[in-house]
């Protein structure tokens, strides 16, 4: 009996830990198990905000992270994803000093297109676009030391891409 009670308590705490939002009421019986949770809040819940995970930096390299979900009070902005550094090293925007950059803001890119270089221990590692889209911003200056996963470009994905 005592053990059951302990299990029930632990159950309640586990449940609550597992919930992202605390309920208004929680009921847990045990003899053939009932669990009841209620989050209702008197009035009708507001329209839920669009589900959008916020980025944790450094983002997973090579994977785009959504960084700017549309604001609610400001006029809708373009949604961009970031292209992250595939290696720690020095970031170059151009193939050699003085040469024009691989890409400029406003350029459209296609998957696999070289958009920059990372030099790590004399190795030149290409930075490649991972989707079709348009370069909205270059986030690091030429010659900047970057870490793995650090955002390099903001890209507006092409819906069709």
């Amino acid at each position: 009996m005592r053990e059951l009670l302990g299990a029930a308590q632990a159950g309640v705490l586990d449940l609550l830990n597992g919930l992202s939002r605390q309920p208004r009421t929680l009921r847990l019986a045990v003899g053939p198990v009932t669990i009841e949770l209620d989050w209702s809040e008197g009035q009708a819940p507001a329209a839920p905000p669009p589900a959008a995970a916020l980025p944790t930096a450094p983002a997973q390299a090579g994977h785009a992270s959504q960084v700017e979900p549309a604001g609610q009070s400001t006029p809708p902005e373009e949604e961009t994803v970031t292209l992250a550094a595939p290696s720690v090293g020095v970031f170059y925007r151009a193939p050699e000093p003085g040469a024009p950059p691989f890409v400029a803001e406003g350029d459209t890119v296609v998957p696999g297109q070289k958009v920059g270089l990372i030099e790590a221990m004399k190795l030149m590692i290409p930075v490649e676009a991972d989707r079709k889209g348009r370069i909205a911003a270059c986030l690091q200056p030429d010659g900047m030391a970057v870490e793995y996963g650090q955002p390099l470009f903001a890209v507006v994905p092409d819906e069709g891409g």
Partner: protein, 455 residues
């Protein structure tokens, strides 16, 4: 602390990264660490003065990624790199590349790592230095027929070992002439896969035996001292679970002799830094050299507890070119120290790792207890890396008091999370076993305990 480094880059993770960071702090050295995306939330990343993300979770792309580590060292302006244990710690190429980049590798010179890492050259070197060896082949054995011939000279049981192996990996046991061909083939195959080097050699198999190792410190000027032994016989499949010093139930004469041989070996190899000479001791009290570990060991705290010497600080000083401050007579071990490795593993499921989120994480404290851990409540055990959660070490004036203290300490461990299991209860059963309590145990202890209590 004049004359050590401005910034040390720690090329490791987990408890040892934090351990090294603490040593650096105490020496007044700036701390930089590399980390993988998987480790972004860990304590050492917060603790360090600089932290550089060098890759994703898989070690191959981060902690084993030599260009990334060297690039990070350049980025933070490091003077030296501490490799910890595992990962790049015994990689001669990495040590060499550090030197080429003007970085001090905190460890032995590349050629020493190379000579001692290759079991074949290591055995030749140590045999030449007068260390007692098990009967075996000094050179690698290239064919099954050659193996058969060598085996007949050595006698059974025997062990087939990868020349490039170490740390308990790349080992096969042949018990009869019949199983030799398959064991030989299997071990070669494993060695190839694990180390990219299929060469193997043969050696008399001593088991059960005691696994006893000698800690040495050597400076760049040929001075070598030893810091006594650690008994690491409590092992499961060659992985250490409990370590203690002094080695119980072995004579001081035997241990002194072993230590003298280790010092001799270190001198012969031109060793520099902190190193460990592993030996096997048979039931009759004979001992034989096994291998050298060219790095700080996981179990170094027990030596620190009885000697009062901070091994990681000594490593750093030696690497900075300081002569040893210690003479052999300054090393006066006192009392007894025991370490238990609390791993995130399920003893009931053959010690399978149990990664997951840590909802509760409380470790022991109080008098004469030391805990080395990187974990914390709210953190998690990553499936990418080893399952070590915490090293719980105790000191006491005598072994009985040390055992009582360790029981007390393990009783304070509270670790919980969905799916997470720990070896705490298993460690308690080891401590409670008559063999361990009496100090009369060997590498067969864990298997015997598991057969008694298969859970």
């Amino acid at each position: 602390m004049s004359g050590v480094f401005g910034t040390v880059l720690i090329a490791n993770r987990g408890e040892i990264a934090l351990r090294i960071a603490r040593a650096c702090r105490e020496l007044g050295v700036k701390v930089a660490v590399v980390y993988s995306t998987e480790d972004a939330g860990t304590e050492v990343v917060r603790y360090a003065d600089r932290a550089v993300c060098i890759g994703p979770g898989a070690a191959k792309h981060s902690y084993l990624n030599i260009p990334a580590v060297l690039e990070a060292a350049r980025m933070v302006g490091a003077d030296a790199v501490h490799p910890g244990y595992g990962f790049l710690s015994e990689n001669a190429d990495f040590a060499e590349l550090c030197a080429a980049e003007g970085l001090t590798f905190i460890g032995p010179p590349p050629h020493v790592i190379e000579a001692l890492g290759d079991k074949s050259s290591c055995r030749s070197l140590m045999a030449g230095a007068g260390l007692p060896m098990l009967p075996g082949t000094l050179e690698s054995v290239e064919t099954s027929a050659e193996a058969q011939e060598a085996a007949e000279a050595i006698g059974w049981p025997l062990v087939v070992k990868a020349v490039a192996g170490g740390g308990g990996r790349g080992i096969g046991v042949s018990r009869t002439p019949d199983d030799l061909p398959s064991v030989y083939r299997e071990t070669r195959r494993h060695a190839s896969a694990l180390f990219g080097d299929g060469r193997v050699y043969l050696e008399r198999y001593l088991s059960p035996a005691r696994h006893v190792e000698i800690q040495v410190l050597a400076d760049a000027y040929g001075n070598v001292v030893h810091l006594g032994e650690r008994d690491c016989s409590v092992q499961r499949r060659h992985q250490k679970l409990v370590e203690e010093t002094p080695a119980p139930a072995l004579s001081r004469d035997l241990l002194d002799d072993m230590a003298a041989h280790a010092v001799q070996g270190a001198k012969a190899a031109g060793y520099v830094g902190a190193g460990t000479f592993e030996f096997l001791v048979d039931a009759a009290g004979g001992f034989a050299f096994m291998e050298v570990n060219c790095r700080i060991q996981v179990e170094h705290p027990v030596t620190e507890l009885v000697t009062g010497i901070d091994l990681v600080q000594e490593q750093i000083r030696i690497a900075a070119g300081h002569p040893l401050r210690l003479r052999q007579e300054d090393v006066v071990p006192r009392g007894v120290a025991i370490e238990c490795r609390v791993n995130a593993e399920d003893a009931a499921r053959d010690f399978a790792p149990t990664p997951g989120r840590l909802e509760e994480f409380a470790v022991p404290a109080g008098p004469f207890v030391r805990v080395d851990t990187h974990a914390c409540a709210g953190g998690s055990v990553s499936a990418f890396y080893d399952s070590l959660l915490a090293k719980v070490s105790v000191w006491a004036p005598d072994r009985g008091a040390a055992l009582a203290r360790m029981r007390r300490a393990l009783g304070e461990v509270r670790i919980a999370g969905p799916g997470v299991r720990t070896t705490t209860a298993f460690l308690e059963s080891v401590l409670a076993s008559p063999g361990f309590r009496a100090g009369r145990y060997d590498t067969g202890l864990v298997e015997r305990l598991r057969q008694e209590d298969p859970r």
